[in-house]
Amino acid sequence: MTETLATLSNNTLYSATVVYALAMLAHVAEWAMAHRLPADVSPAGRGQRSALVPSGASSASVGGEAPPAVAPAPVASEEEVERSDRYGRIGLALTVLGLLLHAVGVVSRGTAAERVPWGSMYEFSITGSLAVAVAYVFLVRRYRIRWLGLLVTGFLLAVLGIALLVLYRPVAPLVPALHSYWLAIHVSAAAIAGGAFTVGALASVLYLLRDRLEAKAAAQPALPRRGFLWRTPAALDIDRVAYRVHAFAFPLWTFAVLAGAIWAEYAWGRYWGWDPKEVWALITWVVYAAYLHARATAGWQGRAAAYVALLGYATFIFNFVGINLFGSGLHAYSGL
């Protein structure tokens, strides 16, 4: 039984990786097809913007210096728009399919091991990336962030690929320190927060790209506004999505650290011991706190705040990868 489930897990995860790869290709096609499409300046956009920018005031800020007046944008043919859009929809559909396979893979891995599948770096990776996929699909429904599809599917493909090819370990029992229901609480909170941090970071990356584009266009009004990036929401709106995702993740991360501290109190006899993993969890917390403050500080809004968010994400990833692989300390559960 265990064997069967473990095999099922491996097969579904390999399939999920392939499906994510196809989803990424579809999004590549979406970008490529949009290569010659002009900026999307209609107030409602393709229905993406309206969800984000409800009021007329915010639309006025879209694009900053009233783009329609500058270069009379050639109107894209319905057909061309539809072609790019179709690939975007295919990408999303494939992502959802990949997500389902991915979820089956993670659940069957846990069932095979008769525990939560959070005992090694491989298992953390497949669970963490599942959280990213779930967060993305949820946010597509909520905020229509399909414009993030290429970055997200690329990320999922990379993480699952590395997990399966490099980090893979067969099902193994947990070490005694992990025999606790706090494992479920602590790791699930950290994983969900991590999924949201990832989507937030990717949105911040896209924000920086779009913002640079807008700045360039403002400097050179004659520049043609074509390509996929011009068809995403305005930088300001992307930034707002990034902020909301981070604002969701930050309290959850606080809770994950707290749950870790309570567990550490039971397992190791102290709630905080400056173990490298603890230190980096704190660093991540502090940097994201700085991000939230930066957004409200003159001179730090916009790009600078986005860089702080990316810095926060870098510390998060370092904690996951660097400390697990090279660090010592009590959190050495990588199984590598």
Partner: protein, 568 residues
């Protein structure tokens, strides 16, 4: 979205009517006046009279920009402690590091690199951060205390300038329409005030909600301070220690029984709880098959505990994640290892040492290092150091252990004679053999002579110096014993911080105005709303409100308040 109070927002809050028809983003660009106070006007600092100067310093310190930089500095300052081994986390790693980096070590020592989190520079950053935090919270608390008692602000003169705006004409009398608006907004949990702008003329219903955002913001920051203080106090009043106890032996809670004992600055050793316990048995099992071979599955110790002298002993099964608690002191099982039992006979045939000796596991295979000292041996003292291999084997020609359980225990020792240095009165670690005055037993070729012993084996030392017998092995447990009174304070603090955080991130303050006036026998109703932070949808809110307030065309008004649910 101001997570942190800043002095500029306070001015904004002081005069709520001021900003009503300006930035729809609420307090988006703060701290600008702060910055201009010193960098503007050609960069000339204000005349530096002591009082003004200190006020200027204070303003700088409590500005959001400074707090931001301090936060980032704190993050950077925390990094070295995760790379350089720390005295409080792993003293033996510090010892090794100093050995490996003789040139770097003194410098590191001087700048507190081995104890980063109590170093001057780390403390300086977080203390400054704390001052900055308090400097923001305290004035902000005062402002908030005033703000929560204040009534919703008057309406801007020209409501139609707001983005979220709607107007219509009705035949309802002014006071009826105003009353319906009031009760609607009231039931949407707004604070409401009704104002007659001119006698017999316009009636304005002002409503405000979202006071909890600022409350959450303040709660979060106060809670962070409480956590920091709580952690510090807990550390002062408590203690932390560790002890290794061999299975079959006992432990009584006195300082001398600890291997390591770190009391907090205000901890009184006389208050140690007078409990004792015996480790009756220790059981450990490893995975023997498959991919996880060698992974520990379970380990647990059977204790017989006596809470205080004269009390009835009781049994306790001590496991990881299940600490023993006696009178506020907690005993945790954090590790285990092997204690080979040896008997050392001296040159005269007398037993100079006999019993189990704690060996320290070096890695997951439980190859363990230890030292046996026989100071009572004569004519010369004898000492041994070496490794215990639980499942001895040869890996690439070197002895190694292929499994952590004791399937094939072998003891490999080097023997020494001479002066162990234990009589000098200086404290010596039981895990270190001071070889300064010791002479190694060697083979005729001059190489160190390794004694390889299986259980029951006896090795004779050259020159009739004596012998050593490997009698068997015991297991020992490593216990962490600690007391952290008041640790509930940081716990509650973090929980409060999370609650505050949720409030400060997700509550959206919103002001709504309904102006009702009568013109030419009819009644004109205007509705407008303004969000003080971005992310909400005041236009939809006004639309909902309008559809609820507009006089019913056909249906009765009975179901109208239900639509208010959508307001958030």
């Amino acid at each position: 979205m101001a997570l942190r109070p800043s002095s500029d927002t306070t001015t904004e809050r002081d005069d709520p009517a001021l900003d009503t028809d300006v930035r729809p983003e609420g307090h988006a660009s703060q701290a600008a006046p702060d910055a201009s106070a010193w960098s503007g006007r050609g960069g000339a600092a204000p005349a530096l009279k002591p009082v003004e100067f200190s006020r200027w310093i204070w303003r700088q310190l409590t500005s959001m920009r400074t707090a931001l930089i301090l936060l980032l500095l704190l993050a950077i300052a925390a990094i070295p402690g995760s790379i350089v081994p720390q005295e409080r986390v792993d003293p033996s790693a510090v010892f090794l590091f100093k050995d490996d980096h003789p040139r770097l070590a003194p410098l590191f020592e001087r700048i507190g690199m081995f104890d980063v989190y109590s170093s001057i520079w780390f403390s300086a950053i977080y203390l400054l951060l704390m001052v900055s935090l308090l400097g923001c919270i305290v004035p902000r608390l005062r402002v908030y205390a005033r703000a929560v008692r204040r009534l919703p602000p008057k309406a801007p003169r020209n409501l139609s300038r707001l983005t979220a705006y709607d107007t219509w004409t009705t035949d309802e009398p002014v006071d009826v329409a105003a009353e319906r608006a009031r009760s609607l907004l009231r039931s949407a949990r707004c604070r409401v005030r009704v104002l007659d702008e001119a006698p017999g003329g316009d009636v304005v219903v002002s409503a405000e909600k979202g006071y909890l955002r600022e409350a959450g913001n303040l709660l979060f920051h106060c809670a962070v301070v409480a956590v920091l203080v709580g952690v510090a106090v807990t550390g002062l009043l408590g203690f932390k220690g560790s002890a290794s106890v061999i299975a079959g032996q006992g432990f009584s809670n006195t300082v001398i029984q600890y291997d390591e004992f770190t009391p907090g600055a205000s901890f009184d050793e006389a208050t140690l709880a007078p409990f004792t316990f015996t480790v009756k048995d220790f059981d450990v099992r490893w995975e023997r098959e498959g991919a996880g071979r060698g992974t520990p599955l379970t380990f647990d110790a059977d204790l017989s505990v006596t809470d205080e002298p004269g009390a009835t002993p009781y049994d306790y099964n001590l496991r990881v994640n299940y600490p023993l608690k006696v009178d506020g002191t907690s005993v945790f099982l954090v590790g285990h290892g092997y204690a080979p039992r040896v008997t050392v006979r001296d040159g005269r045939g007398n037993v100079a040492f006999s019993g189990p000796v704690v060996f320290l596991p070096q890695d997951g295979s439980f190859v363990s290092y230890g030292v046996v000292k026989a100071p009572d041996a004569s004519p010369t003292q004898l000492g041994f150091e070496g490794y215990f291999f639980p499942t001895a084997s040869l890996c690439d020609g070197q002895p190694c252990s292929t499994f952590p359980d004791a399937d094939n225990p072998v003891l490999s020792l080097l023997a020494y004679r001479g002066d162990l240095g234990v009589d000098s009165g200086e404290p010596r670690s039981v895990y270190v053999l001071d070889k300064e005055d010791l002479q190694q037993f060697t083979t005729p070729g001059g190489n160190p002579r390794a004694l390889l012993l299986r259980v029951g084996d006896k090795a004779m030392l050259d020159g009739g110096a004596g012998s050593i017998t490997f009698d068997g092995y015991d297991r020992w447990v490593r216990l962490q014993i600690s007391k952290a009174p008041g640790k509930v304070v940081p716990l509650v603090g973090v929980l409060a911080a999370i609650v505050g955080l949720l409030g400060s991130l997700f509550v959206r303050p919103r002001r709504t105005w309904v102006r009702v006036r009568s013109t030419g026998g009819r009644t004109v109703v205007e509705v407008a709303a303004l969000d003080r932070v971005s992310g909400g949808d005041p236009v939809a809110h006004v639309a909902d409100l309008a559809s609820a307030l507009r006089p019913p065309v056909a249906a009765s008004g009975a179901d109208r308040p239900a639509q208010q649910e959508d307001h958030r």
